[in-house]
Amino acid sequence: MERLPLKSKVLNENQIIAESLRERFREHGVLCLNLISGPGSGKTALLERTLASLDPTTRVCVLTGDIQTDNDAQRLAKYGFPVKQITTGGTCHLDGRMIEKHLAAWNLDEIDLLFIENVGNLVCPSSYDLGEASKIVLLSVTEGEDKPLKYPSIFFKSDLFLLTKIDLLPYVPFNANTAEANARLVHPGMEIVRVSSTVEGGLDAWLAWLEQRMTRAHEDALAPAAN
């Protein structure tokens, strides 16, 4: 019997693809964001209102993942930006290969911002790097305040926590401060933005965050590669 040391990551194949995507995004100044939440937290609604609110000169593309149907792609295509549906046919998450394949027809030089709307699931997508600059986790006020504690991995791995549907706060027994404190227990210093996709001005703080991150992605593209 012999014990061979193995030093790689279990998802090494995915990691290699993700790193190559990340480098391509950096080179071309594309800000890639991976949106993750349970089903029904408002990922598609947020994207709809975001696409409607962005400066029309911003070149945005969306990849949207679902197990079945292209309903989300149809909803998002109305805003005039390129949208592609990734139908996983049962798989509970997107992986690097799916992103690589669905990006093939797009010219990265013509994209400033790429949204990836992951399959509605708070667990599995957290294991798969898609080459994004940041994962963003969404949690709505109609869910439980303790979700960051129940699903710590995704809150730990996301740079930004979007607390969605805050217009409903007066009608639900949800303590936003508790939810945010729970998120910061798991991920000290986590950025948190409260949003509403249905009221006027409900996305202002999120749009400002996006603007800042796009500027940074452009600056990074001009800087020489780290290696």
């Binding site: 014990r3 193995l6 030093k7 279990v10 194949e13 599995c124 294991s127 991995s153 791995k157 210093g189």
Partner: protein
């Protein structure tokens, strides 16, 4: 249920590793799974058995060690185990601490037996 995809990734990695060790039969594969890795060890064990069923590698053992979350304090350098997600330093109470383990999903080792017969290969694993 991404544990099924992960089980397939494990077999794929074992297959690749064995290319470098002709004549070796895999006995046990060791993993380190952080408690923040979002992988259910029981579910992974179940999926691992399922993907091995009917192959030459049926009976290949999985040794998945769960690694608790540990952090290092950026202010005083103390390293501590995180209890109940409390990320504050246990010595100086600073909230500026960094994860040093607990989010890994890594291979650790592969135990093999070499008996001179030709190496087995699993079919159907891409």
């Amino acid at each position: 249920m991404h544990e099924l995809s992960i089980a397939e990734s494990i077999l794929e990695a074992v297959r690749k590793e064995l290319v470098n060790h002709p004549g070796a039969h895999p006995i046990r594969v060791g993993l380190r799974i952080g408690e923040l890795a979002a992988v259910d060890v029981d579910s992974l064990a179940f999926c691992f058995e399922a993907v091995l069923a009917g192959t030459d590698w049926e009976g290949l053992q999985l040794d998945a060690r769960v690694c608790p979350q540990r952090r290092r304090c950026n202010d005083c350098g103390n390293e501590f185990a995180v209890v109940e997600y409390n990320a504050r330093c246990t010595v100086c109470a600073s909230s500026s601490t960094k994860t040093i383990s607990g989010d890994e999903l890594d291979f650790d080792y592969l135990e093999v037996e070499t008996d001179g017969t030709p190496a087995t290969q699993v079919q159907g694993v891409e």
